[in-house]
């Protein structure tokens, strides 16, 4: 069975550390991959750049900060939800603000969750732990959509055989 990995896209090292500290209380910290900007998110998902040889399957959830260098969160979200191969990967926006515009834009792009990071650490811990528990343990991830067309055919073949 594959490891259930979360992808955390966050450019601020303080936020990364606090998020990891929260997840470590659940022993989930090892199952998280951290990338620092929007370009790296897509590189990871598309096996590009430094992630060309990365192991395994799609993350069970992408925790996406909105304000990031290069590509921001909304641009990443648009790209992901516009690509049939990535569309099914759950994305949860994790942001500092509750700007109405960001909220509306995120949902219209098809985000799966929108969490405002609380200022106080206790509510922050609670929020991150809930996210970790839900997406890693409670939720059933979508079936993997292979990136290469051959893989798709293979699966369809297998399905047909099954029905025979």
């Amino acid at each position: 069975m594959n490891i259930k990995r979360m992808l955390l896209a966050e450019d601020n090292p303080n936020d990364v550390e606090l998020t990891l500290a929260a997840l470590s209380e659940l022993n989930l910290a090892n199952d998280i991959v951290v990338v620092n900007d929007g370009v790296e998110v897509l590189d990871y998902l598309y096996y590009r750049g430094q992630f060309v040889d990365r192991p395994g399957n799609d993350p069970v959830v992408v925790l996406l900060d909105l304000k990031m260098p290069k590509l921001d969160g909304l641009q990443v979200l648009k790209e992901m939800k516009g690509d049939p191969k990535l569309r099914n990967i759950p994305v949860v926006v994790l942001t500092s603000s509750r700007e109405e515009k960001d909220l509306v834009d995120s949902y219209s792009l098809g985000v799966n969750g929108y969490v405002v990071k609380p200022v106080g650490f206790d509510p922050f811990l609670k929020a991150i732990k809930r996210i970790g528990l839900f997406w890693c343990l409670t939720n059933e991830p979508p079936l993997e959509t292979p990136l290469d067309p051959e893989g798709v055919d293979a699966r369809i073949d297998a399905g047909e055989k099954h029905y025979d």
Binding site: N14, S96, R98, E99, F124
Partner: protein, 783 residues
Amino acid sequence: MKKDIKSGLLRYGLAGLVFVVVAGSSVLLRWFSIRINFTIPVVAGIFVVAWFGGRKPGLLLAVLMSATTMYLNPIAPDRSIGAWAFGHLTVFAVLVFIVLIISGRRLVEAKLRESEESFRTMANSMSQLAWIAKPDGFIYWYNQRWYDYTGTTPEQMEGWGWQSVHDPEVLPLVMKKWPAAIDAGTEFEMEFPLRGADGKFLGFLTRAVPLKDNEGKVVQWFGTNTDVDQIRRVQESLNSSRAELKGIIESAMDAIISVNETEKIILFNSAAERMFDYPAIEAIGQPLDRFIPDGLSHTHSEHIDVFDKTHVTRRSMGSIGALSGLRSNGQKFPIEAAISQIETDGNKVYTVILRDITERKKAEDRNRQLNEELEQRVLDRTAKLDATNDELSKENVARRQAEDILKQSEESTRLIIDTARDAFIAIDSKGKILKWNTQAEVTFGWPQDEMLGRLLSETIIPPQHRQAHNHGLQHFRSSGHGPVVNQRIEITALHRDGHEFPIELTIWPMKIGTSFTFNSFIRDITESKRSEREIWKLNESLGHRADQLEAANRELEAFSYSVSHDLRAPLRHIDGFVRLLAKREAEKLDATSERYLNVVSGAVSKMGLLIDELLAFSRTGRQEINFTRVDLNALVQQSRKILSTDIGERDIRWNVNPLPAVKGDATLFGTAMTNLISNAIKYTRNQETAHIEIGVAAEGDGTATIFVRDNGAGFDMQYADKLFGVFQRLHREEEFEGIGIGLATVQKIVNRHGGQIRAESAVGEGATFYVTLKKAKGETNEH
């Protein structure tokens, strides 16, 4: 020129005088066989003449002196002629050299004096304060304005005395910067306050420029101080004149409406509110077509052509043709429009002035109708009279009756004309005045009895139009047509007191029998012209203000976005790492250290709350208002539901009376209601039984005042003005928590709807908040 000759004479005279004294005394002494060395007097004389007389008189003296020496010291027998000549030439050369050096030096001095003089002349004629200093910064001259402004004397000011009119707090900085500029020999510029004779400080921008000689050494400093507070004062007076302008527009009798390029209304004065029976607050943002359904579009293209050339166009009352306005109850009515258009910073603004002419139209129509009837009757009557000439005696009675009818009809015509608000004048085809109503007496200053029978061209038509008027009449007499009849024209007229003023008139010809009379209604448009001009000015300032507002809004938008993102993140980090630290060092921390860390966390969450509340507050100010009919009863219920967790187990007696439906934004009113009720719940906390009453305090025409009353802590009315300020609190935080933004939000919401809020209270006796809002349409006073 005269002065030059005089000073030339003086200068050469000086050279002559020195020569006569020096050479004369030398010759005289020689006569007595006393021979002394005259080198010193000669050189001294040359110095004096070269300095005071200048180069040419100096050279002249040098020549004369050398010649005299040669004459007095002929060739000695034991010397060669060459040595003699060489000796004298050397002396001559030395003298010439001295003259050139000295006079050159003097020229520089003179130039310096000249530039100083011209600066002084200039400095005394300008509005700034000005001064001149020596190279070391010692000020030895100020212009009169300096003394006038500071109320000081030259003795007090000389040198470094100016320090006494400086602000002692700013002076040390001045004393650092100004000497630094003196040392470096560079231009000096600084803004600092100077004390005036009245003891008040005004801000001045001070600049000092060094004058340098050929070697780059500073010779003098020229300084000026410019009153920069003046600019601010001008700004203030500009603001007040804008306010005045706004007053004019609001009090204008004519409706004034401005629209932007997309024909959306941006200004709607109170006369417009009355005319269209529509509140300005709702009219703004609507298309003009809503009020003038025919639109002004048929005149637009023509308009824009002119506009492109001049950037200002206007059309006066009536020239646009018949338009009709649409009242809110669907009723159409005739209006007359004047339009002006102006472009500021690329934005076009159109302003229309509208006048409801229902009444005048009626009067005109009636008048015309009566005149026609009259004419018809006269014709009929004449015909009848001709036909029945021989039966005159038999029809005496009938004639008298007809004459009575005629008289009656004439009487009613006269009545209409005399009560008309416009001047009415009728002339015959030669220009002789036949009718002159009361308003004409007011408008032109001539009484009726002086005018009847006189020629129009000799009285109210200004000299420059008289010829055209006579030509027009002649043309009409011969052809039966004229370019000026049956349409509205703008022209100037002459008042009895001699001043010329703009009028607007319509002329319609009427045939009576075989001759023509010309009738006209005339209106003095001096005032409307003036208000048109005021409106262009206002438009200009409106355009500017709108731009500024938009820029400020954009800035605010960006600012609050940045605040919500960028300020919250560091707060989260502070609290996060404080907590992690506390956990990690748990065993080492004593109780005090732990408390410190708790205080940090507490402060962080308070700050987080402040940021959230501030953002919410700024959102209520920017959010667009979506006008609907709002049921306040439903809002009260909804607010009580939201606040139920705050109430908990407390004993609160509610007395909620039926409320009217009002006009406004449901979400914003919901926020306001929740804030008011939450306030009542909070401040009644210390009462055993809390009483909260909500109801209607008063209902007026179209408005309703509702109130929320509690029996809580109340406040001192002395501080009532602080109640609605942002972050203003009347209770300590230990008593009642909160950051003081709730009532500020309520006030902002109410104000944005054009409503009013006020509070009545006394310490310990509860508080009542009154909110006046506009009722929804069709809402009666009974609920």
